[in-house]
């Protein structure tokens, strides 16, 4: 399967990456070369094989349902959460206006 320039533009927009025309032109053959190469996986007979979900068998742990149980990942650290924000005001992340 090969991708066209339109497809790459669509993927780039889905991935939220702006790409200009020359960049798209460069990406098309590169993505096609990679996709052609991964096509060989189609040769493998995987009937009856479940897709891998966990690389090492492990059970999913659930933590106790306690608010702010962990001092590192719990709440009450708004200043820290906002510390690296490019724009923060009044204790919130700042973004361009989204509602007219």
């Amino acid at each position: 399967m090969s991708v066209t320039r339109e497809t790459v533009a669509k993927i780039a927009s889905l991935a939220r990456i702006r790409m200009d025309e020359p960049e798209l032109d460069r990406m098309v053959p590169e993505l096609n070369a990679i996709l052609d190469w991964v096509e060989q996986l189609g040769e493998v007979d995987t009937s009856g094989v479940e897709p891998m979900t966990a690389v090492i068998a492990n059970t999913l742990r659930l933590r106790d349902d306690v608010v702010d149980a962990d001092p590192l990942t719990g709440g009450g650290i708004r200043e820290k959460v906002l510390a690296n924000a490019p724009a923060a005001e009044h204790g919130f992340f700042g973004v361009p206006k989204v509602i007219e």
Partner: protein
């Protein structure tokens, strides 16, 4: 007095504990080497000499008070700039995270500081750990301290993605460094510069606070001068972490105490399918030599089959980008890092502009591949098929380990290559990890040990792959190779 920067983890820890030298002297010596090499090797993105001194002084003070010292007490290390370090810039070698100063410490780095280690600085890497030659860093290439003996003096790749780590350890800028391995990023750079590195079983080291590339593959591990140093550092790094849901809830074995190169009663598997057409004859010769060494250590050698080997790399290049496209969605210019807000732009335009400006070429390429293989209509054909093939690759290993205890293979298909050689051909670059990727897909512990120099005077590595949770078996086979290889070569200082 010996040059303290010639010492490894164990020698430093023991020397500090016995009072032969102080931790401060060690930190000062390495700080000086880091500063002197920076312009030539570019191994560090940020140097933190004051952090190394602070930790050393704490160890010296603890020793003076007669306190029990930690496993890594007095050992200054380099930290791959993929680990979040509180108060110190963490970039993953990207523009999008340039200037990001975490408010928290990764579990692995916190464990190391607790064990008495100090930080010399943050090491350069391939951007978001994507690359095999350390040429995708926003902060410039790392240059290998090695030079081929052909008189050309071409700048060589230190391997990727832990290329800053490998170069720094090989050039005596630090006795050891952290690495992370997604598809070979500890083992391949270790092999390129003649050092030792181990990727433990997936889940041994917490991923909390490690910038995520492909979550089902990423695993941290140590890179050091020898096997014993790796065992010591891995003990300090590993351990259960409730903050990482994939962390293994198992005790950390005493790997250092368990080291033995007596392999009597052990079986070493040689995978038939790794003898690929076109492999460098010098690599094949080093592999044969490794087989002879393990026999000498008492092991029995058996041929095993890993029939799906040739599909590991294409499966990896679907799975890893798929996970990366999801993990890297968080870099959108809102919460941290770069923001590019063109005049009059809305939220969506801001995302797209920020990500366009903040990600390098290889990262964009992989995000696009990942987005494509996960998109409606292609998900089954690409992503699910790759995960099925991955299950078969893991099954191959399970079946092989019914016949053997560890597997021996080359680490890389070639020795290091000049920077720039493969940079325009992503596929050629990807092929460098052909021997490393299968063990990553199966989550198995695997290490690279230097075994000699090729005819160009460049290091070659041998890879030992073990059963899940059997780091000890891997370390011991590595030790058997190390003792017999007697590898003492180091790069001639030109920087």
């Amino acid at each position: 007095m010996t040059d303290l920067t010639d010492l490894g983890v164990k020698a430093i820890r023991d020397g500090v504990a016995s009072g032969e030298f102080s931790a401060r002297e060690v930190a000062e010596s390495f700080n000086a080497n880091v500063a002197a090499a920076q312009g030539a090797l570019n191994a560090f993105i940020v140097a933190t000499p004051e952090r190394a001194l602070e930790a050393a002084e704490a160890v010296d003070a603890a020793r003076a008070k007669g306190e029990v010292l930690g496993k890594m007490a007095g050992v200054p290390i380099g930290m791959k700039d993929l680990f979040a370090t509180e108060g110190v810039q963490t970039t993953a070698a990207s523009h999008i995270l340039e200037g990001f100063v975490p408010e928290y410490e990764s579990t692995v780095s916190a464990n190391l500081w607790k064990a008495g280690a100090g930080m010399l600085g943050k090491l350069n890497l391939d951007q978001f750990a994507m690359g095999s030659s350390n040429e995708t860093s926003y902060f410039g290439n790392v240059i290998s301290p090695w030079r081929a003996n052909d008189g050309g003096n071409a700048a060589l790749a230190p391997g990727g993605s832990s290329g800053g780590s490998s170069a720094a350890v090989a050039a005596r800028l630090c006795p050891a460094a952290t690495g992370t391995d997604t598809g070979g990023s500890i083992r391949q750079p270790a092999a390129f510069v003649g050092i030792t590195g181990i990727k433990p079983t997936y889940g041994r080291c917490s991923r909390w606070g490690v910038v995520a590339f492909a979550s089902s593959l990423d695993q941290a591990g140590p890179m050091a001068r020898d096997v014993a140093d790796c065992a010591i550092m891995l003990e300090a790094m590993a351990g259960f972490d409730p903050k990482d849901s994939t962390s293994l809830d198992l005790p950390v074995p005493g790997w250092e105490a368990g080291l033995s190169d007596d392999l009597r009663g052990k079986k070493v598997g040689i995978p038939r399918e790794y003898r690929m057409d076109g492999t460098d004859p010098e690599i094949l010769a080093s592999w044969d030599q490794g087989i002879a060494w393990l026999k000498d250590a008492g092991a029995e050698v058996v041929e095993v089959s890993l029939p799906h080997t040739r599909y590991a790399l294409p499966a990896y290049y679907i799975i890893a980008p798929a996970e990366a496209s999801s993990n890297l969605a968080r870099y959108d210019g809102v919460r941290y890092g770069l923001r590019d807000l063109p005049q009059g732009a809305g939220l969506q335009d801001m995302y797209a502009a920020t990500r366009a400006a903040g990600f390098g070429e290889e990262v964009k390429r992989r995000i696009l591949i990942g987005t494509y293989v996960l998109s409606a209509g292609f998900y089954d054909a690409y992503y699910n098929q790759a995960q099925r093939v991955r299950a078969l690759i893991a099954r191959d290993f399970e079946q092989a380990f019914e016949q053997c205890d560890v597997i021996l293979a080359p680490t890389t298909p070639t020795a290091s290559f000049p920077l720039g050689d493969k940079v325009d051909d992503p596929l050629a670059m990807y092929l460098n990890d052909v021997f490393a990727v299968p063990a990553s897909l199966a989550g198995l512990p695997a290490m690279s040990v230097p075994c000699g120099l090729n005819s160009q005077g460049l290091p070659l590595g041998l890879q030992v792959i073990g059963r899940a949770f059997d780091e000890q078996g891997v370390l011991n086979a590595g030790l058997a190779i190390e003792r017999r290889a007697g590898f003492t070569a180091k790069p001639e200082k030109w920087w």
